[in-house]
Amino acid sequence: MPSASRAQPARIAGGVAVLAFAAVALAFPSIAPNPYILSVGIVVLNYAVLSTSWNFVGGFTGYISLGHGALAGLGAYSTGLLVTKGGLPSFVALGVGALLVAAIAVPIGYAALRVRGASFVIVSIALVLITLLVFQSWASFTGGSRGLNVPRPFPGLLRPEHHRVFFYLFLALLALALLVWWLIDRSRFGLGLKAIREDEDKAEALGTPTFAYKLVVFVVSAFFTGLAGGLYALWFGDLDPIFQFSILTGSYMVLMALLGGVRNLFGPLVGALVVGSALEYFKVEFGNSPLHLVATGVLLALVVLFMPDGVLPALGALLRRFSPTTDSSIREVTAAELAAERATIGGEQHAQPRNG
C-alpha cells in the first residue's frame, strides 16, 4: 500500500519522540535540579492529564467544553472531602471521588449535550460558575473560601520524596488516559464519535445513536478529569474554590489540546508541555501579574493563524514533504490497465468519472 511507505518518516519520528519523552519523563525526578523544578514537572503533567481527559470530548466529538475545570474541581473536592469527612484512605477516596464525578457527569451531560456549538460552550461555562458559587457558599461542608486541607497520603515522606512519588503517580495516570484514548480512537465507537465531529446529523442518519455516544464519552472524560483533580488534591493538600472552579483551568485544557492538535493522541500532551512550561516560567518571571495570560493569548493566536490543526499535524505535514507523495484523486493508469478495464466494462460503455 502506498500510504504505508509515505507514512514512514512521520511514523519513525513519532516513535522516536514518544520513546524520548518516556525516557526523559522517567528520569526527570532524578535529573531535576531541585524540588521546585520537580513540582513544576508535576504541574505540567497534571495539565497533560487534564488536557488529554478533555480531549475525549473535544477531540473525538468536536464539542468544546470550557467547563472541564469544574469537573477537575469536583474531583479534587470529592477526594478531599471523602478523606477529611468520610475518613476513607486517600487512594480509595481518589477512586470513589472520580466515580462520583463520573456519576454527576451523567445528568450534566444529559442536559448540556443537547445543544451544539456555541450554546454548548456557554452551558459548559455556566457549570463552572455554578459549582464555584456552591462550593464557596456551602462553607460548613466545603470549608468555603477558607479552603480545605487534605491530609497527605504519605505523612512520613519528606517534601522532595513526596514530589517524586506524585510525579510517577501523575505519569502513570497520564499513561492510562493515553491508553484509553488510543483504544477508543481505533475502535468502532471512536469512528462513530469522529463521525459526530464531522457531521452529527449525517452520523445519526446512518444509524449512530449520537446522543448515547456523546454521553458515554463525556462520562469517560469526566472520570479521568476527576482522577486528575483528585490526585492534585492529594498532592497539593490545600483546596480553594476560586482556584479549583476557575474558568482558566478549562481554558488551559482547550488551549493545550488545540495547540498540540486535538486529532492526535499526543496533541494535548505536547500542548501541555509547551503551555504548562511557559505558564510556570511566566509566573516566575512576572510574578502574579496577568502577563502570563497575555503571553498565552498571543501563543494561541499564533497557533490558530499558522497551525490551525495544531503543532503535531503541522510537523507531520513537514515530514511528509520529504517523501514522495501519492496523495491524489487522479489515478495513473497504464495503457494495459485501461484496455483491461474497457474489456470488463464491455457493452455498458460507462466512462470512468475520475474527476466527476
Partner: protein, 242 residues
Amino acid sequence: MHSLETVELTKAFGGNLVLDKTSVSFQHGKVNALIGPNGSGKTTFFNCVTGLIRPDSGRVSYAGADITRRTPHAIARAGLGRTFQLCRVFPRMTVLDNVLAATRPRGANLLRGARGRAETDRARGWLTKLGIEHLAGIEARNLSWGQQKLLELAGVLMSEPETVLLDEPAGGVNPALLDRIGGLVRDLNAEGRTFVIVEHNMDLVMSISDHIVVFDRGRPIAEGPPSMIRTDERVLGAYLGV
C-alpha cells in the same frame, strides 16, 4: 404491499405550510419516485419521514410499525437509509472510514477495531461497485462533487437499509455517472431493495421508476406508473410545464 406510508403528515415553517395533510404510500420492493416543483415539500417530506424534523401532526409508518416519534438513528436501524440533497460526507475522514462509519456495532463490539477485515472487505466492495475504490485512502473533502455523491451512496448502502431514500442523486453529476447510479438502483432493486427517489431529472425518473408520486404544494396530486404520469394533465400543468 406498502412499506413506507404517511397519514396526514403536516409540517409548517412559520406561516409556510410545507406539508399539508400528506398521505402517501410507497410500494415495497419497487423503485418509487417522488417528483414535483421546487418547494413542493419533497425534502421536508424526507426529513419528516427519517426523523430529522418532527412533523406538526400526522403519522409515519414503516413495515407496519409507527415510526413518527422515533429518533433518526432508530429509524435508520429499522431499515430506512437516506442520502442528502446537498451531499453530505465526513470531510476529514478517509473515503474508506466514511463507509466504515456506517457499520452498526452493538455492545462489546463497539470496542473492537474499526477496521476489522470483514467490514473493510465489505466497505471496499461497495467502493468498487461504485468505481471509487482507488480513492479509499484519501480524505473525503478532496473528492469532486460527483465522487462525493458516489461515496455518500456507498455509505448508505454499507448500513444495509431495506429501503433507500435518495434525495436528488443526479443533482450536479455528469451523464456517465447518471447511468451508473441508475444502473445501480436497478441492480439493487432486483436484489430486493426498495427505493424512494426525489429527482428532477425526468429521463432518469421515467427510466428507472416503477411508481411515481407527484407533489405540489405539500400534497400528492397524482400517482401511478411512468406511462400514466407522463400524460396526466394535472402533472403537466403543475410540474412538467407543457
